[in-house]
């Protein structure tokens, strides 16, 4: 007997398994020759079946494509990124379809920032273009400029908060409508602050913050805290995007468009940023560099093991899942104190709705009508507030109805004009804020680089991208 090893020697490894498993089924020569005759017919018929199945697939695809399907019905394909509101949006669409029987809307959702961008590109290059889709910062606008319809005649554009449309404005044209607003600062535990004797309203400057933090730190044991702050050092966006943003926003007049066109970044407030990062790091639960979002929000903050974290209103649902009572009654948002920005919250629009101008006029108009309906009709407004749980980027919403305290605070700040409009980091070179600055800040925290060298390197990278 030949050993197995000799027979298969070096074959492609799946073959190894195939051969091993198929050994018992192998046929001898005689069987094989009779099989041949019999099986030719069956092979041909199998082939035919396969062709039929394939043909069936391709014809069913045709029904799904957009445009006018039957008589006067208009079909709108929506391709959106916010997984959290997938079901809610689909329900709202059903209500709209009932009110407008001549409109048919298909919603397709692809989650996550990166995946969405890639899928959208794939959709456009394959010719299966959606009518309504989402765009983010100025770089998205530039990329998709050729097929963005002008939305300046919509009602929603008229009531959008000042500044929220800056990044999607090109001359007279408005190319996108804000999805919602999100804002960040220090989310704090009101009970712990009270017990420690710290009044959040007194925190206006960095010195105040330092005082408050040290005060809580001295009572750590009594309050049952692990640390005062939890800094999610593993998440590059927490430091590179959010924290850094408020320190360099002034350089670009708080506009991501200005940042998008800028050849360089001066980092005038780099020392203040360093001071702030050091403070958060010093009083944070350790090790900072492997502390991720879920540890920060769920393990440490929701279980009341830290007093405050630098996060935004999007953490509400996570906190709610851990401790509904804490989420509803025990947390609030406080601005990060930066000189020149006292009492202001950086609130931005993470994504915009855009309408594809390549589509027929009919589809474009119907798309605009749907977006308007969603943000201006009573039904739409209620859904946006209560089902989507959005912080609206539009005037005329009832702040009382906003579901959670963090979003409520942000909407109040926005209505009073106390938000820094726009997240300027959206205008930085693609990936720069996280992969260069965020990673750089991690490197600084690990002690492998001096702060100033890190800042210089980040500036060089920015300049290299903008050459």
């Amino acid at each position: 007997m030949q050993p197995l090893a000799r027979k298969i020697k070096v074959t492609f490894w799946p073959l190894l398994f195939f051969k091993t498993f198929m050994q018992p089924f192998a046929l001898d020569e005689k069987e094989r020759s009779t099989m041949k005759k019999k099986s030719l017919a069956s092979i041909v018929s199998m082939f035919l079946v396969a062709i039929l199945v394939l043909a069936g697939c391709s014809s069913s695809n045709e029904g799904g494509s957009s445009g006018k399907s039957s008589k006067d019905q208009v079909t709108i394909d929506i391709f959106q990124f916010k997984v959290e509101v997938k079901d809610e949006l689909e329900n709202l669409v059903k209500v709209y379809e009932k009110e407008n029987p001549d409109v048919k809307i298909n919603v397709k959702t692809v989650g996550g920032g990166n995946d969405y961008g890639a899928s959208l590109k794939a959709a456009f290059s394959s010719g299966d273009e959606p009518a309504i889709f989402n765009i983010g910062g100025p770089s998205d606008v530039e990329e998709h400029r050729a097929h963005l319809a002008d939305l300046s005649d919509t009602d929603s554009a008229g009531i959008a908060f000042e500044g929220t449309l800056d990044t999607v404005t090109d001359g007279e044209e408005i190319l996108g409508l804000p999805f919602n607003q999100e804002g960040y600062g220090f989310v704090y535990n009101t009970r712990i602050f009270e017990e420690a004797g710290v009044n959040p309203e007194d925190i206006k400057t960095f010195e105040d913050l330092e005082k408050a933090v040290t005060k809580i730190d001295s009572q750590k044991e009594d309050l049952g805290l692990e640390a005062v702050i939890a800094l999610a050092g593993k998440e590059k966006w927490v430091m590179g995007n959010h924290l850094a943003n408020i320190f360099f926003a002034t350089e670009f007049d708080n506009s991501s468009l200005v940042a998008y066109e800028s050849d360089t970044i001066a980092f005038e407030k780099s020392n203040e940023l360093k001071r702030h990062l050091d403070l958060e790091n010093k009083y944070s639960a350790q090790p900072v560099l492997s502390l991720d979002y879920s540890q920060q929000v769920e393990e440490l903050f929701s279980l009341e093991r830290v007093a405050m974290i630098q996060q935004g209103n999007w953490i509400y649902n996570s906190v709610y899942d851990m401790d509904p009572d804490l989420a509803e009654n025990g947390i609030d948002l406080l601005p990060i104190p930066v000189e020149g920005y006292e009492g202001k919250i950086p609130a931005g629009v993470p994504m915009y709705w855009a309408v594809n101008s390549n589509k027929d006029d009919e589809v474009v108009e119907a798309s605009k009508a749907f977006l308007d309906w969603m943000y201006t009709s009573d039904t739409g407004k209620t859904a946006v507030l209560e089902d989507f749980k959005f912080v609206p980027a539009y005037e005329g919403y009832d702040a009382e109805k906003i579901a959670d305290p963090l979003s409520q605070t942000i909407y109040e700040y926005a209505s009073a004009g106390n938000t820094i409009a726009g997240w300027v980091y959206n205008g930085s070179p693609a990936g720069w804020s996280q992969e260069v600055l965020g990673a750089g800040m991690q490197k600084y925290l690990s002690g492998d680089v001096e702060w100033d060298d890190m800042i210089d390197n980040a500036r060089e990278k920015w300049e290299a991208e903008r050459k």
């Binding site: 000799r6 961008g117 590109k121 770089s139 050092g233 350790q286 090790p287 492997s290 992969e435 690990s446």
Partner: protein, 286 residues
């Protein structure tokens, strides 16, 4: 083989078709795109080798290649060692051997992404609390430094793939003729000598397969890397596959990322071909 003309090609068509559609054609497309300024939607300019020149100066890409190489070397050694060890263990005459085979193979059935998160919990929380309790400094702060991140990835890969490599070794170990071993035993060879002089040379072909598998697999680690460390801290534990994905989708430099992928392909191809060539020469035929 008279029927080769028809049924041969008939059965081959689906494979050839899908292989060329999803592997071969995109490969050539990608190769062409790496010479342009393609941004994912359209390419407007032909840049020649500019992308490749930029690659040469890209410190981050170089560090990713170096890190990947280190992970690959260490995990190839560890994996083959573990795989052969486990295979020897479960081919002993023991009552639990088939249960153990199942257990050792199991990690391979769990997706890398999930494994990454499970091990992240083990490294950070379990290691951390053990370290705190017994005052072992070395167990705290895992994944927050480059070194622990490196070992984290190596341990995860070894744990996941060892069972798979074990299966390959088992197949070869069980095909060794009993009479050879018996003869050696009669000649007075002790168990180490039997292993060194009979078992080991006879499982040499398994080395070829296993080394090729482990090597190319460790080079292509992506999901474990993503969920375990996400490149952190400061992208120092970022492997090449992840660096390519980031360049393409986060930094939006599709063509540049494509040129990274081409270089990466060439490196992996060279390594794999050389390795298969040398191992084949070493094989013992009966």
């Amino acid at each position: 083989m008279r029927n080769r003309d028809f049924s041969f090609w008939l059965f081959l068509t689906p494979v050839i078709l899908s292989l060329s559609l999803v592997v071969i054609v995109p490969f050539f497309y990608g190769f062409v795109y790496s010479f342009t300024n393609w941004n994912g939607i359209h390419a407007t300019e032909f840049l020649g080798i500019k992308n490749y020149l930029g690659l040469y100066k890209d410190a981050e890409f170089r560090s990713a290649i170096w890190f990947t190489t280190k992970v690959a070397i260490v995990s190839v050694i560890l994996l083959n060692f573990l795989g052969l060890g486990l295979a020897l263990l479960v081919t002993q005459k023991m009552r639990t051997s088939s249960l153990m085979r199942t257990i050792f193979f199991m990690p391979n059935l769990i997706g890398g992404l999930i494994l990454g998160f499970i091990w992240q919990f083990i490294f950070i929380s379990v290691f951390g609390s053990i370290g705190d309790k017994f005052g072992v400094e070395a167990l705290t702060g895992w994944l927050s430094t480059t070194k622990t991140g490196f070992w984290g990835i190596v341990i995860l890969t070894a744990w996941q793939m060892a069972g798979y490599i074990m299966i390959i070794y088992i197949a070869y170990l069980e095909s060794i003729p009993k009479d050879l071993i018996e003869a050696a035993e009669i000649d007075g060879a002790n168990s180490f000598q039997r292993f060194r002089n009979i078992t080991f040379p006879l499982v040499a072909p398994a080395f070829t397969i296993s080394m090729f598998l482990t090597l190319s697999n460790s080079f292509q680690i992506y999901d474990q890397n993503l969920s375990l460390t996400d490149g952190g801290p400061y992208n120092s534990t970022q492997m090449v596959a992840m660096s390519i994905v980031k360049t393409a989708f986060t930094e939006n430099k599709m063509a540049y990322a494509q040129s990274q992928a081409v270089i990466f392909f060439i490196i992996v191809a060279i390594v794999a071909i050389t390795q298969v060539y040398y191992n084949k020469k070493r094989e013992v035929d009966l």
